[in-house]
């Protein structure tokens, strides 16, 4: 028997690898949604530059190197461009200084805490502690600000006096005149408490990636836990931990409210960490925003742009380091 003509068979389906229309639309929508992050970052850069451009042009490099912030109005009430000065050097130095203090305090504590959680804690303790540390990362910053102001500051002042008394010969710790309140040291302490959970969880992730066979090899060779950590875990996780610390640094530099409550913002570059005079770009923006006129707002936008670029640079570098060493980042 010969089969009837092809008209009675269903038409052959076309086999193709070309995606259908619905899939193309889907891919297009998803891609454009995903590119929103690029769009937003680009828009932030564009608008802050656009608004701050006039100030950046009139002040030039002086905006970053100068430390004066004074608005001089002429007789008609307009801003006098000759005498008005916008310089954020003191704020930039202060921002970096506070963030560095925070990292110096937070890094050892975080690494030790991560080691404890990964290698020393019994499972039940570990579960609770991990939840507690993660919870701390979710606390709102205003909470740290008020706690720092009302609870931490009195104690921290006392600690600052102790440091000054016993280590005062080091130029960093000199305090003249003796004002200990609202110093970069206290701001750094608050920031340290805020970044400890971030660095701890990254360090934990990085330590978790240590190859199990190497850990077991160390134990099989008769190493104690500490010997194993020193020989295997720390060398393996070093770069990841450094990246995590930098992520914390970026976070600490952008913090606003918590620093505002515990730092005395002064327009002068100050390297004496215990002295109650510091600077912080984000706090300065918040401080000046209330009474700022239109031109000063433009200067604040320019300061925001500098802060944005600074944190972006630190964060990207940190992300690169963390990713190369196998952690996921935060």
């Amino acid at each position: 028997m010969i089969l009837p003509a092809s008209s009675q068979l269903p038409a052959k389906r076309e086999i193709t690898t070309k995606p259908r229309l619905s899939d193309r639309v889907f891919a297009w929508i998803v891609t454009s949604g995903a590119l929103s992050s690029l769009l937003i970052l680009g828009l932030i850069f564009f608008f802050l530059t656009y608004q701050g451009f006039s100030v950046l042009r009139s002040q030039g490099l002086h905006f970053i190197t100068g430390s004066n912030w004074q608005v001089i109005l002429d007789a008609a009430g307009n801003i006098d461009p000759k005498q008005t000065e916008f310089g954020i050097a003191a704020m930039l130095v202060g921002t970096i200084l506070c963030a560095l203090i925070a990292i110096v305090i937070a890094l050892p504590i975080s690494v030790l805490a991560a080691l404890f959680l990964n290698f020393f804690a019994p499972p039940s303790v570990k579960k609770i502690m991990v939840a507690v540390v993660d919870l701390m990362a979710a606390f709102p910053s205003i909470l740290f600000g008020l706690w720092g102001f009302f609870v931490l500051m009195p104690s921290a002042e006392y600690w600052a006096k102790l440091i000054n008394r016993y280590l005062g010969f080091i130029p960093f710790f000199q305090v003249e005149p003796p004002i200990y309140t609202r110093s970069p040291f206290i701001a750094g302490l608050v920031l340290a408490i805020m970044v400890i959970p971030i660095i701890t969880s990254i360090a934990r992730e990085v330590f978790n990636q240590t190859p199990l066979d190497r850990i077991q090899a160390a134990y099989a060779l008769g190493a104690t836990r500490w010997a194993m950590i020193r020989a295997v875990v720390l060398p393996y996780g070093r770069s990841g931990v450094i990246g995590g610390a930098m992520l914390g640094l970026g976070r600490a530099m952008g913090e606003t409210v918590a620093v505002y409550t515990v730092l005395n913002v002064v327009y002068q570059i100050n390297w004496h960490v215990l002295l109650g005079a510091g600077g912080n770009v984000a706090s300065m923006i918040l401080l000046k925003f209330g009474e700022a006129g239109p031109d000063e707002i433009k200067a604040l936008m320019a300061a925001g742009l500098v802060l944005f670029l600074l944190t972006l640079a630190v964060n990207s570098l940190a992300d690169l380091i963390v990713r190369r060493s196998g952690g996921k980042g935060r």
């Binding site: 889907f26 998803v30 929103s36 937003i40 805490a113 979710a138 706690w147 836990r225």
Partner: protein, 349 residues
């Protein structure tokens, strides 16, 4: 002849009663030393007790282990003490923070707090007048609007990175990471320069929500990505093998399977922004009465209320600030715990 002896398995990794007794003795000895030293020398204060105790404990432990088991284990004992110090320093602030908030905020909590706003009162009035209904409703509206904006974008980003996997996966991962580092005040300034000055020229809740969603998108995107990565590939293959297009597979198989995880992502996003203060201070205008319309009029919110009460600085207003923080903290805690419970259930099933 049967041997009646029962063989007990040895558990060398568990410490024997004798070992426990010795470590308890070392602990007590260190406490005694710290007490005596602080009493005998001019040192004083909690800090001195703590430091002396820590060093005494480490030293005694080291000596004991060195005498009984040798230098390697003695070093191990020191390491154990030091990492224990690390974790206690890391969690000590959280204990202090929680205690402070509960003790100070408790005084400011009363029932009318949740039924009235501050339309007729100032923050320095006695604490039983006025409330923070406007702040709670404002925060709820801000969070809701921010969710409406950032959930689609965040989940689309996650779907792009796990399902579509186009050319830009690496750059987008990088950009999302970069975006999560944007300081909150910069997000506020951006909305100020891009939305309020050129377009609306007035503070509104919507502007605040826009800034908050900038902070929220990276959190949602990253958590969702992690959740979608956990969905087994078999499900995707099964969907495609049944003749589904990619769109159908993602929409009807992958996303429903990850539903609870995506809700967790949203909750974590809410917890991230609920207490965000700087952009709210810059953008929302912070009204004192209940305002249900995010597009016009100043909008109160919990962080704004806390900030305003703190800044006034009288006794009543500071109590108000702590009460506001207590409410905010309870909200964050509830969100956090529910996120955790949900993700736990997910990993079990």
């Amino acid at each position: 002849m049967t041997d009646k002896r029962v063989v007990r398995p040895e558990k060398p990794w568990k410490s024997s009663p004798k070992q426990r007794l010795v470590s308890a003795l070392i602990f007590l000895g260190a406490m005694l030393t710290s007490y005596l030293l602080v009493a005998a020398t001019p040192m004083n204060g909690k800090l001195a007790y703590f430091l002396v105790f820590f060093f005494a404990f480490t030293l005694f432990d080291f000596i004991f282990h060195y005498l009984t088991r040798g230098i390697a284990l003695a070093k191990d004992a020191v390491a154990r003490a030091v990492v224990a110090l690390g974790i206690s320093l890391a969690v000590a602030p959280i204990v202090s923070i929680l205690a402070t908030v509960v003790i100070r905020g408790y005084k400011g909590i009363h029932l009318s707090l949740f039924t009235t706003d501050m339309k007729l009162n100032s923050v320095s009035d006695p604490i039983d007048q006025g409330g923070l209904l406007h702040a709670i409703s404002g925060t709820a509206i801000l969070v809701l609007v921010a969710l409406l904006i950032s959930v689609p974008l965040g989940i689309l980003t996650a779907v792009y990175m796990t399902e579509v996997k186009g050319r830009f996966v690496r750059p987008i991962k990088f950009l999302v990471q970069a975006m999560s580092g944007v300081p909150s005040i910069v997000a506020g300034l951006f909305i100020l320069s891009a939305f309020i000055y050129p377009i609306t020229k007035a503070y509104s809740g919507f502007a605040g929500a826009l800034a908050l969603s900038i902070l929220m998108i990276p959190t949602i995107a990253r958590t969702s990505e992690e959740v979608l990565l956990l969905i087994p590939n078999d499900l995707r293959e099964a969907g495609v093998a049944l003749g589904g297009t990619q769109w159908r597979t993602v929409a009807m198989v992958v996303v429903p399977a990850a539903r609870s995880g995506l809700v967790t992502a949203m909750i974590l996003g809410i917890a991230r922004i609920a207490g965000e203060t700087a952009p709210v201070l810059l953008l929302t205008g912070g009204g004192d009465s209940v305002n249900g319309n995010p597009f016009s009029g100043p909008m109160g919110s919990l962080p704004f209320y806390i900030w305003k009460s703190y800044a006034v600085g009288t006794e009543e207003s500071v109590t108000r600030a702590w009460a506001g923080i207590l409410v905010l903290l309870v909200i964050v805690l509830v969100l956090f715990v529910s996120a955790r419970v949900m993700s736990e259930r997910r990993t079990k099933s």
